[in-house]
C-alpha cells in the first residue's frame, strides 16, 4: 500500500499494463513528445517508443476510429482524448461504431479499447472546455463508462478497463489529478458495474461519482463532526452499467437521498438515479430525492459566475439540511 496521487496511479497502471501485454498501446494528442496535457503519460514515450506511445494529429474522429479498428483486430488501444469536450468530435466513432460493432454484426468482433478523458469545470476554461458530457456515453448501450474518484479506484478500474473486451469510456477529472490516497500494491483489477459504499451512515444517502464523490466524502465528514449527522456515501464508480441495487440498499436504510453531479440537472445522471430510487425504494422514502447539479448555463469564464454555477460542498450541505428538515430529522442529531 502506497500513498500516491490520482495522476500517479493512472501513470503507473498504464505503464504496468504496457509491460504486461504487448498488445496494449497508447494513442492521443500530445501524449508522447509533450508527455500529455496533464502529464499522465510522462516518460512513457522514452520507455516504450513511438510505436506504443503514438502521438496523433488533431483529428479526434480519425484517431479514435483508428483505435476502434485496431481493437477489432485484437490490439488493446488506450486512447487519450485531451478533455471530454473534444470527445464530441469523435462522437460518431464512439457512439455509432465502438458501441455498435459487437452487437450490430452479431457478436463476431468485440472492441477491446479504452478512451481515457478528463471532465470537470472550475478551471476558468469557459463554456466549450468545461462540460461534463459523460451522460452521452452512459446513455449508450454497448459502451461501458467508469468514473473513479480515488487513486485506488483509478488503478483498479483502469486495469479492469484495459482487460475488458468492450469499449470503455474512462472518465477522469481535472480537479482529481492531484488528489492523493492509498493505492493497494499488486495486480488487482476492479469490477466494472459495481458501486461502492465509501462511507457508512444511517441518516441520509449521498450518491455521487467522480469529483462529486470526493466532495460527498468531505461533506459527510463535516456533517458528522459538526452536526452529528450520519451520511452514507455511495460512489457510483460505474455509470454504465449503473449499480442500482447498491443505491437502493442504502436508501432503504436511510430513507432519504441527495444526488450530487457535475453535469446539468435536466435529463442528467442524477435524474436517472432519482428515478431508480423511486422505482426501487418508493415505500422507504421519507422525502423527495434532491439533486445538486451544475446550473443550466454554458459555463462562464468569470470566476464569480463560474463558482456560482458549479455545485460546491456548501450546496450539498444546504440540500442535506433541507432534506432532513423535510423529514423532521435534523434536530435529532443522534439517530
Amino acid at each position: 500500500m502506497a500513498v500516491m496521487s490520482y495522476r500517479q496511479a493512472l501513470h503507473d497502471t498504464l505503464r504496468a499494463e504496457m509491460l504486461r501485454d504487448p498488445d496494449v498501446f497508447l494513442m492521443g494528442e500530445e501524449i508522447g513528445r509533450f508527455e500529455g496535457s496533464y502529464k499522465i503519460t510522462a516518460g512513457l514515450l522514452d520507455e516504450f517508443g513511438p510505436k506504443r506511445v503514438r502521438d496523433t494529429p488533431i483529428a479526434e474522429e480519425g484517431f479514435t476510429g483508428a483505435a476502434v479498428g485496431a481493437a477489432m483486430l485484437g490490439l488493446r488501444p488506450v486512447v487519450e482524448i485531451m478533455t471530454i469536450n473534444f470527445s464530441l468530435l469523435a462522437l460518431d466513432q464512439i457512439v455509432n461504431h465502438a458501441a455498435k460493432i459487437y452487437g450490430m454484426f452479431g457478436g463476431q468482433k468485440s472492441v477491446p479499447m479504452v478512451i481515457r478523458t478528463p471532465g470537470g469545470g472550475g478551471q476558468q476554461l469557459a463554456a466549450t472546455h468545461s462540460q461534463n458530457v459523460e451522460l452521452f456515453y452512459a446513455f449508450t448501450p454497448g459502451l461501458k463508462v467508469v468514473a473513479p474518484s480515488s487513486p485506488a479506484d483509478a488503478k483498479a478500474l483502469l486495469l479492469a478497463s484495459i482487460r475488458d473486451n468492450d469499449p470503455v469510456l474512462f472518465l477522469e477529472n481535472l480537479a482529481l489529478y492531484n488528489t492523493k490516497g492509498e493505492v493497494p500494491d499488486g495486480d488487482v483489477a476492479g469490477e466494472i458495474g459495481r458501486a461502492a459504499v465509501t462511507r457508512e451512515g444511517s441518516d441520509i444517502t449521498l450518491v455521487a461519482y467522480s469529483r462529486m464523490a470526493h466532495v460527498a466524502l468531505q461533506v459527510a465528514e463535516k456533517l458528522a463532526s459538526e452536526e452529528g449527522i450520519s451520511a452514507e456515501v455511495v460512489d457510483l464508480r460505474s455509470l454504465r452499467p449503473l449499480d442500482r441495487p447498491t443505491i437502493i440498499e442504502s436508501v432503504k436504510k436511510t430513507s432519504c437521498a441527495v444526488v450530487l453531479e457535475d453535469d446539468w440537472l435536466t435529463y442528467g445522471i442524477g435524474a436517472e438515479v432519482a428515478a431508480s430510487i423511486s422505482d426501487g425504494a418508493f415505500d422507504y422514502l421519507d422525502a423527495p430525492v434532491r439533486r445538486v447539479a451544475m446550473a443550466e448555463v454554458p459555463l462562464p469564464y468569470a470566476k464569480s459566475l463560474e463558482l456560482a454555477a458549479l455545485p460546491s460542498a456548501n450546496d450539498v450541505v444546504t440540500a442535506v439540511h433541507q432534506t432532513l428538515d423535510a423529514v423532521g430529522r435534523r434536530s435529532v442529531g443522534a439517530h
Binding site: E61, G65, Q93, H97, Y102, K109, P141, K144, D166
Partner: protein, 350 residues
C-alpha cells in the same frame, strides 16, 4: 498520379477463362440484386436497401485484386462485395431477410454484412464511418509486422466528409498498408459529384496527403483489377496507402425505394449504354471466347444459386427474442440492463 486507361484484355486461353469467371461473378451480383429488389417490394426485406446494379465490374475487379489474407471494409452498398468475397449467398440473403442464419445473425441487415471468415469486417451505414476503422485495422497489421492489406471502399459523396480527410492524413503519416477505393457512380443519393465536390476529379484529393492515386474505368473489370493490383502491391510491399477512384454508373435509384425522378432520360440511357454486364457479354462473344448459349447457361446457373439463396433465407428462422441481450457486451458485466420495454426496473411489490 496516373489515370489508368481502359485496357482490352489479350485473348489467351487463360485470359478467356478468367474473363468467363468474372462474367459469372458479375452476373451473380446482377441476379442477386435483381432478386433482392423483388424481395424488398414483396416486403421480405426491410430497412434501407442499396444495390450494386451497374457496379458489377468494379466489385468483381476489386475483389480479384485482394487476397484471402487481406481485409475489406465497405459502405452500406455491400451485397456484391460480400458475394464475391466469398460469403455464402444464402447467408447473405438470410441477413437481408433478418433471419438467424444471416451473416450478422440478423442484427445488421443490408447495410451491415460482416463475416470474419472472409475478413470482410462490415458493411457500415454511416457515410465515412468505415474509414477510420479501416485505417485502424491497417495500423494493427503494421503493429504486428503483418503482410496483409486493408481495402476500404466508399462512395463518391464520402470524399467530402471530415473522416475522409482525417483518415487519409493519418494513413500517409503512419505508413499504413491500406487502399482506399472511391466508387464514383456520379451520385450521392441525388446530388451529383459536381454539386458536392469542389474538386470533382476525386482521385486528385490524394495529392493533399502525398498519396499515390489513380482513376480507372469502373465498367471494365480487367482495368479495375489491374489498377487495384498496383495499389494493393504498393500497400503490401512499400507499406504506403493508395487512393483508387473507379468511375461507373448506378443503374437504379439510390436505394430500392428511390425512383430516381431527378435523373433525365438521356442520363439513364447513357448509364445503360455502359452496362458492364452487357458489355462483357458482348465482348466475350465478339472475342469468340464463348457463344450466346454458353453465356445463357452461366446465367441459368447463377439463377439457380440465387433461387437457392432465397429458399435458404425463407427457411431460416427469425432470431429468438431470448437472444436480445446476447450481444450488448463481449465481457459479461454485473448490473447490465436486460429489461424489455414494459418490464419494471425492480420487481413490483418488492
Amino acid at each position: 498520379m496516373a489515370t489508368t486507361s481502359r485496357k482490352r484484355p489479350a485473348r489467351s486461353a487463360k485470359n478467356t477463362e478468367e474473363l468467363l469467371g468474372y462474367y459469372r461473378q458479375m452476373l451473380l451480383v446482377r441476379r442477386f440484386e435483381e432478386r433482392t429488389a423483388q424481395a424488398y417490394t414483396e416486403a421480405k426485406i426491410g430497412g434501407y436497401c442499396h444495390l450494386n446494379l451497374g457496379e458489377e465490374a468494379t466489385v468483381v475487379g476489386l475483389m480479384a485484386a485482394i487476397e484471402e489474407r487481406d481485409y475489406l471494409f465497405t459502405n452500406y452498398r455491400d451485397h456484391g462485395y460480400a458475394l464475391i468475397r466469398g460469403m455464402d449467398p444464402g447467408r447473405v440473403m438470410a441477413e437481408l431477410y433478418g433471419r438467424q442464419d444471416g451473416v450478422s445473425r440478423g442484427w445488421g441487415g443490408s447495410m451491415h454484412l460482416f463475416d470474419t471468415d472472409v475478413r470482410q469486417l462490415g458493411g457500415y451505414g454511416i457515410v465515412g464511418g468505415q474509414l477510420p476503422l479501416a485505417a485502424g485495422a491497417a495500423l494493427a497489421v503494421s503493429y504486428r509486422d503483418g503482410d496483409e492489406v486493408v481495402m476500404c471502399q466508399m462512395g463518391d459523396g464520402t470524399t467530402n466528409i471530415g473522416a475522409f480527410h482525417e483518415t487519409l492524413n493519418i494513413a500517409t503519416l503512419w505508413d499504413l498498408p491500406i487502399v482506399f477505393v472511391v466508387v464514383n457512380n456520379h451520385l450521392g443519393m441525388g446530388t451529383t459529384v459536381e454539386m458536392s465536390s469542389a474538386e470533382p476529379e476525386l482521385y486528385k484529393r490524394a495529392a493533399s496527403y502525398r498519396m499515390e492515386s489513380a482513376r480507372v474505368d469502373g465498367n471494365d473489370v480487367v482495368a479495375v483489377r489491374d489498377a487495384a493490383k498496383i495499389a494493393v502491391e504498393r500497400a503490401r510491399k512499400e507499406q504506403k496507402p493508395y487512393l483508387l477512384e473507379t468511375v461507373s454508373g448506378r443503374l437504379r435509384g439510390h436505394s430500392v425505394v428511390d425512383p430516381a425522378a431527378y435523373r433525365s432520360k438521356e442520363e439513364v440511357e447513357a448509364v445503360r449504354a455502359q452496362d458492364p454486364v452487357a458489355g462483357l457479354h458482348d465482348q466475350l462473344i465478339a472475342a469468340k471466347a464463348a457463344d450466346a448459349d454458353q453465356l445463357a447457361e452461366v446465367d441459368a446457373d447463377v439463377h439457380r444459386i440465387v433461387k437457392a439463396a432465397v429458399e435458404f433465407a425463407e427457411k431460416s428462422p427469425a432470431p429468438e427474442v431470448s437472444s436480445l441481450f446476447d450481444y450488448t457486451y463481449a465481457s459479461p458485466v454485473p448490473n447490465d440492463s436486460r429489461r424489455l420495454p414494459a418490464d419494471p426496473l425492480f420487481p413490483v411489490g418488492a
